[in-house]
Amino acid sequence: MLLPFYWVFKTAVSNENIYAYPPRLLPESPHLFNFVDVWYFIPFPRYLLNSLIVSALVVVCNLAFNAMAAYALSKSFPGRRAVLLLFLSCMLIPFQATIIPAYLITSKLGLLNSYLGLALPLLSTIVCIFVFKAAFEAVPQSLIDAARIDGLANRHIILRVLMPLSKAAIATNIVLAFIWSWNAFLWPLIITRDPNMQTLPLGLARFLSYLEDTTGALYAFAAMVLAPSIFVFLMAQKEFIRGLTSGATKG
């Protein structure tokens, strides 16, 4: 499973052609200067900052909006089943099919070429709502009733009772939202005009167009783009797995 990651790193620290035959398992005279080239040849720090801002925005909004939606969906109310079915059916529609209306809405809101516009389609995701919903439903109702008797409002019940008991769901939300926004390519490509607003995946495409034969530097770029999402995944791995599997064995 780690072989593709090793191969990316091996090519990044050497200037070997990936089509060289026979392929070498170990890099020949490895060095880290390809990473330095990537840092300076394109405005990498700027792209990194843009990606970090957009991803942070997406993660924070996902936690807030998904928790609120999941709390509502974990309660009984008329039409709840219809809302759940609507959400599930919306998951069947690929993002590419909704990209034109999404662009028009973002344009009407005046958010083209902005961080908020870049983050907009991912501010709440249905999968993550269901992850929170499963976690909230696992909390005993008596605990929520006790909090309500103590006078806590709904938002305080979410913040002070449900969220602390749903750490795995929070980690899952963080990992998924971060990775989805970090890797997003099509949406940023469509709504950014200013090169200074571009994110790392767009920078990768730009870099490829500049240095199409520089395999080592290209793979170094890929490794630098991958590193933050791998880091977040490794940091939250335990909770992520627990969050995805919680509720999976329910009858």
Binding site: H31, F33, V36, D37, Y40, F41, Y210, L211, T214, M235
Partner: protein, 125 residues
């Protein structure tokens, strides 16, 4: 140690922040843009008054940026380099041109002294 501090979500970002600050401190101290070295002939004797050419990299091309002369001991120095990938070459009357040496730096304007001198294929008379 307080419990909130003893968590991987605090320790790892703090360690990364410390490493980044330390690196930036190192860069700030060592980014004078100075490139130094020596030019010798095939026998290892210093070559005085040789012209040393500094070329810096722009994407796939190396373009000439500066020239300087070596002193009586064959030493040369460039200042004001702001690139991270250089090539150095020397030329002298009667000796032709030296090999072109690629010098890769860890950051822009890093102060560097060549470990090995630029060497001509020929010998001084």
């Amino acid at each position: 140690m307080p419990e909130w501090l003893n968590q991987r979500w605090v320790i790892v970002p703090l360690a990364m922040l410390t490493a980044v600050l330390a690196w930036n401190g190192y860069v700030a101290v060592n980014s004078g843009g100075k490139v130094e070295g020596q030019v010798v002939d095939a026998g290892g004797r210093p070559v005085a008054d040789a012209t040393v050419i500094l070329l810096d990299r722009h994407f796939v091309m190396h373009n000439e940026r500066q020239r300087t002369q070596t002193d009586s001991s064959g030493h040369f120095q460039f200042t004001g380099n702001d690139n991270h990938s250089l090539q150095l070459e020397a030329e002298a009357a009667g000796l032709g041109r030296s090999e072109r040496r690629l010098v890769r730096l860890w950051f822009r304007a890093q102060n560097v002294r060549l470990a090995e001198p630029l060497q001509f294929a020929g010998r001084l008379p």
